[in-house]
């Protein structure tokens, strides 16, 4: 059996042993001595002034240690934003304060008002119900298209609720392209809002040691150093040496655990105030209204083509939801991580995008697996597929005709990025092969005989990973560098400890990074330990997101290994009494070239720490090196995905029959882990396409606030996936040749699935449809297109007659159907909001929108706490 602990080997994961035995070390598994618990009283309403807040009764309740309110955080900063986008007029974006606790006004359901600290969580929660809050309710801004004219401002700083109005690309060139086009393909679409939902809810424990004035924060984070910097420097004013941030085992992130959240600052400060550790663990319902959401764009996109089907120009006019406050990376997602990817795999010469970012009374929106690239890929690949249909060229030829050729790299796109490598025809060929595209007509005919509508859809994506270099992102508004750091500590007897600034929360770095080091040093992986997640022992690094860990963090490790080898050669030369230039390092041995004289790696490391025979005049003892790696460019994974679906015309149910993914990730270190990353990304992409949608009603209640209504992909919703990564054009600018694989699946799959459904429904006259493709929405589209009767022939039953009003929902509507225009402020109620008194027993948060289905009739009238707002009619399919 070949060695698997080298680059390219499918080494089994080392971290699995503890996870499989129930010995993972997640934050909620930790209890600190003397720990108290905090329960956050959160706003049950989307937009209101806090007319009165009375905590007296709660403060006296059993077990309560202390209740902290906004007043306790007056001296501190708000939750900072890490990226400043500049308006088309050169003005900086609107950047209102995001307080730790709501200061006089709540801006979304879930906005924290105060934190009740008690000796048990149950006591904290019991006491929170005794807090009396009087809200002056304001109309909620929910719908983006009407937000500018609603007359209601989420923040005074942005009266029209526009955070920024950004333009990018060559507007004039695009207009010229469109004016000379033989054909224009246009679409209005939404990119549905999603809740990231890592399975581990967020958790944070603050701890304070007054003997050394030391703060420690244990938190579910993808990047502990970033949290230390943001929270220390911008919120609490704590210098780095007084603050340690630990992110141990973290149960998934997908972006949502990148950001610095208010709860982290709260527990860190509270631990000092109350003199004991303070722990907060979100429950799932709380996660839905406090974790940053993802996506949520409303878009109009147009593609100009010449008579032969060549793309001439692309125009995009979009709105992106920021939510109520700017989360850490939020402004960059719809702009620099989206606009720059609009060339896709194509030679489109002229591209222009206008992007307006909107404040609304919803949870902040930030990066979620893919972050901007899924939105770009979705609009582009929907347009391209439609162009293939309208021109008659079909999905394959329309793409091939416009692909950037493999001999055209490096390729400068009109949207400011330079693709270093790629071979788009190769991944298309591979996808056609593994999907057995040639066999599709037979499968479609067989499905038809069973009364099912079968369709096939394509998506050829390109994305950008390992956002860099720092100088460029700084110019674009990033307030941080985007390098990564690694320290290699060779221990005296030759074992190796690697300290990485990357963070693993499912990606398997403890395995992959060990393979990289084992490969480079010729050592068995067993002698290598990977340490991450603790600012007390890892060098300042930027953490894990944007599929950057191997390409950036792994490259930092390689650079540090190179330094180790360089120094070791000097030591070996001394030990072997040879010239340094004659020393070669092979298979873990330092050899004098052309002789049999050699020293093992461990002999050299021992000499470094026991420098009895050592070039001490020229060289320091010890063998430990740190490298910071700042990439020259992004990496550009790309591929083609092909989805096949069957639609049940009787119910509108979409069944994903197969999903083939042919990816080019450059060089692959561990194919087993890469495939696992793709599988997970595909599932999340399919989830977006078919199942998932975070829906707010017009009053700002999150209707999909639990797993009772937010449909997570389950095993039976998905097929076995067909994945391939054998097409490899190595990245040209990092030492591993690696591109990044963590997000591709989530980026490439949604348009493939939607295109497949449109292919299936096309014969019935359905032209467009928005995600998610819920059964009701698909059925309504079929019915509205008048195809119902034809479609159901052969099914068990025909369609019932339906009223048109019920059918239009979700078909070809660019806006969220759920989002009705916000009531104009002219109404007296809005102009002079009547205080809504929330009685003590009604302050329980989320009582109405956390609908646990089986409510009990006999207890309901007494115990059910009804939010004193207008009755909700659930709409919006």
């Amino acid at each position: 059996m070949p060695k698997d602990d080298v680059i390219g080997g499918a080494m089994k994961r080392r971290e699995d042993l503890r996870f499989l035995k129930g010995k993972g070390r997640y934050v909620d598994d930790m209890n600190r001595p003397g720990q108290a618990y905090v329960y956050f009283l959160r706003s049950p309403v989307a937009h209101a002034t806090i007319a009165k807040l009375d905590i007296a009764a709660a403060a006296a309740a059993p077990g309560v240690v202390r209740i902290l309110t906004a007043a306790d955080f007056e001296a501190f900063g708000g939750v900072p934003c890490g990226w400043q986008v500049t308006d088309k007029d050169g003005q900086p974006m609107k950047e209102p304060k995001h307080p730790i606790l709501a200061e006089g006004k709540v801006r979304h359901v879930g906005d924290p008002i105060c934190g009740v600290i008690a000796t048990s969580l149950a006591e904290a929660r019991d006491a929170a119900e005794m807090i009396e809050v009087e809200f002056g309710e304001l109309p909620a801004v929910i719908d983006m298209p009407s937000a500018t004219t609603s007359g209601v401002a989420v923040h005074d700083e942005a009266p029209d609720n526009v955070c920024y109005d950004w333009e990018f690309g060559d507007k004039a060139a695009a207009e010229t392209a469109f004016s000379g086009a033989a054909r224009i393909v246009s679409l209005e679409l939404t990119n549905n809002r999603l809740a990231p939902n890592p399975m581990e809810p967020r958790c944070a424990i603050g701890e304070y040691d007054d003997s050394g004035d030391q703060h420690t924060l244990y938190t579910t984070s993808q990047n502990p150093h970033v949290i230390r910097l943001l929270m220390g420097a911008f919120v609490l004013g704590l210098p780095e040496h007084k603050l340690r941030v630990v992110a141990p085992d973290v149960g998934g992130g997908f972006g949502s655990k990148i950001y610095h959240y208010a709860e982290e600052a709260f527990v860190t400060h509270a631990a000092k105030v109350v003199g004991r550790p303070v722990k907060w663990t979100a429950d799932r319902s709380e996660a839905f209204i406090s974790d940053a959401h993802g996506r949520d764009h409303v878009t109009k996109a147009e593609l100009a083509l010449d008579a032969e089907g060549h793309f001439l120009g692309l125009r995009v006019d979009s709105q992106a939801n920021m939510g109520a406050y700017l989360s850490t990376f939020a402004p960059s997602i719809p702009t620099w991580l989206h606009g720059t990817l609009l060339a896709g795999q194509y030679r489109t010469p002229a591209i222009f995008i206008r992007m307006r970012a909107m404040f609304t009374n919803t949870v902040p929106v930030d990066a979620y697996r893919g972050a901007g690239r899924p939105e770009a890929t979705y609009l582009l690949e929907r347009l391209v597929e439609q162009a293939g249909r309208e021109t008659g060229l079909g999905p394959v030829e329309i793409r091939r005709r416009n692909f950037i050729g493999k001999d055209q790299f490096p390729y400068d796109t009109p949207v400011a990025v330079t693709y270093d490598t790629g071979d788009f025809d190769a991944t298309m060929d591979k996808a056609l092969e593994i999907a057995d595209f040639a066999g599709f007509p037979a499968r479609q005919a067989e499905a038809k005989a069973r009364g099912k509508l079968r369709g096939v859809g394509f998506s050829s994506y390109i994305e950008a990973c390992g956002i860099a270099p720092s100088s460029l992102v700084g110019a674009l508004g990033a307030r941080a560098g985007l390098y990564e750091a690694a320290t290699i500590r060779v221990n005296p007897t030759g074992s190796v400890t690697v300290f990485t600034g990357s963070h693993s929360h499912g990606q398997g770095h403890e395995t992959t990074f060990a393979q990289v080091v084992a490969d480079q040093l010729g050592l068995p992986a067993d002698s290598i330990e990977i340490v991450h997640g603790d600012t007390a022992n890892v060098p300042f690094g930027m953490g894990t997101y944007g599929s950057r860990s191997l390409a950036v963090g792994g490259s930092a490790i390689v650079k540090a290994v190179d330094k180790i080898v360089d120094k070791s050669k000097k030591i070996a030369a001394h030990l072997l009494e040879a010239a340094e230039t004659d020393i070669v390092f092979e298979d873990g041995m330092f050899k004098v070239a052309g002789t049999d004289k050699a020293k093992a790696f461990a002999e050299v490391s021992l000499a470094a720490y026991v420098p009895h025979q050592y070039p001490i005049e020229e060289l320091e003892p010890g063998l430990e090196e740190t490298a910071f790696y700042d990439p020259k460019n992004f990496t550009y994974p790309a591929g083609t995905y092909i989805a096949e679906v069957e639609v049940d015309p009787g119910t509108g149910e979409v069944t994903l029959m197969s999903l083939a993914a042919a990816d080019d990730f450059g060089k692959v270190v561990n194919p087993m882990i890469v495939e696992g990353q793709v599988h997970g990304g595909l599932a999340q992409g399919v989830g977006q396409a078919v199942l998932e949608h975070a829906i707010y009603d017009e009053s700002g209640q999150l209707l999909t606030g639990s797993y009772m209504d937010y449909a997570m992909p389950r095993a039976a919703d998905l097929p076995d996936f067909l994945v391939d990564h054998s097409c490899q054009t190595p990245c040209t600018h990092n030492p591993l040749g690696a591109k990044g694989c963590g997000e591709a699946g989530a980026i490439g799959s949604p348009p493939a699935v939607v295109n497949a459904v449109l292919d299936a429904l096309g014969p019935l006259g359905v032209k467009t449809i928005d995600m998610p493709l819920t059964p009701n929405r698909v059925w309504a589209a079929i019915s509205a297109a008048g195809g119902a009767a034809a479609a159901s022939a052969g099914a068990a039953a025909s369609m019932a007659a339906s009223t048109p009003a019920n059918l239009a929902t979700g078909v070809g509507t660019p806006a969220e159907p759920a989002a009705e225009p916000v009531a104009a402020p002219a109404s007296a109620a809005a102009a002079a909001p009547a205080p809504v008194s929330v009685s003590p027993e009604a302050t329980t948060i989320r009582a109405t929108h956390l609908r646990v289905r089986p409510s009990e009739p006999r207890v309901q009238p007494a115990a059910l706490k009804v939010r004193p707002a207008a009755p909700r009619v659930r709409r919006g399919l």
Binding site: N776, A796, S802, N806
Partner: protein, 265 residues
Amino acid sequence: MYAFDYDKPADLAGALAALKAEDAKALAGGQSLIPTLKQRLAQPSTLVDLKGLPELQGVSVDAASVTIGAAARHAAVAEHAEVVKAIPALAALAGKIGDPQVRNRGSLGGSLANNDPSACYPSAALALGATIKTDRREIGADAFFQGLYETALEEDELIVSVSFPIPEAAGYAKFVQPASRFALTAVFVAKFAAGVRVAVTGAGESGVFRHAALEQALTASFAPQAVEGVAVSADGLIEDLHGTPAYRANLIKVMAGRATAEALG
């Protein structure tokens, strides 16, 4: 959850006595009640655990009916060889409730007493014309289900067992709400010598209900095609995120056809 006491009486008499306490509440499988309590939507003083009561156990099958103890777990019903043989659609329904872990805990009595508008069991009880035996009387299914979470049970009355008449044929077709896995709309069809009974769950604003027009059509001709000409009104059907009334009306018809096909094997 709010604080409460836990009580586990030894027999039915003990349970009935315990339930007389103010705000005492029965705990069956707990698969609906405990999540409800976690959301603090109810505040019982005491939970009276019924699962171990000897009077509520057991499954028996005779020529005319299947009788199932209120404490019978969904998984036990789904896997019970005699139930599978006598009323396969009933066993199949039990095997589709929730997920395997819910089926390992949830019970028939708890499901019927709760009468969730999207639960599976009420449709079988109603379509099969089951008799619900309580600690004090017998209630026919047509009289038992009285609206959203409402039943004919008195405040402190407990279901002991349920008898399901064995039909000539029966089928259950469930269209799953993709998040909760409850029925978005499901239809149970049961054919007896006297005619066909059709019960719909997941769709009605007042909970489970019988559909007269479908019953009429299927009584006239017990075939999937028989439902095609039936007009299913959207009036009184649930509107929520997952389905409009019109969509549910469509599903009623489609699921009725499929349940009939299922019944015909």
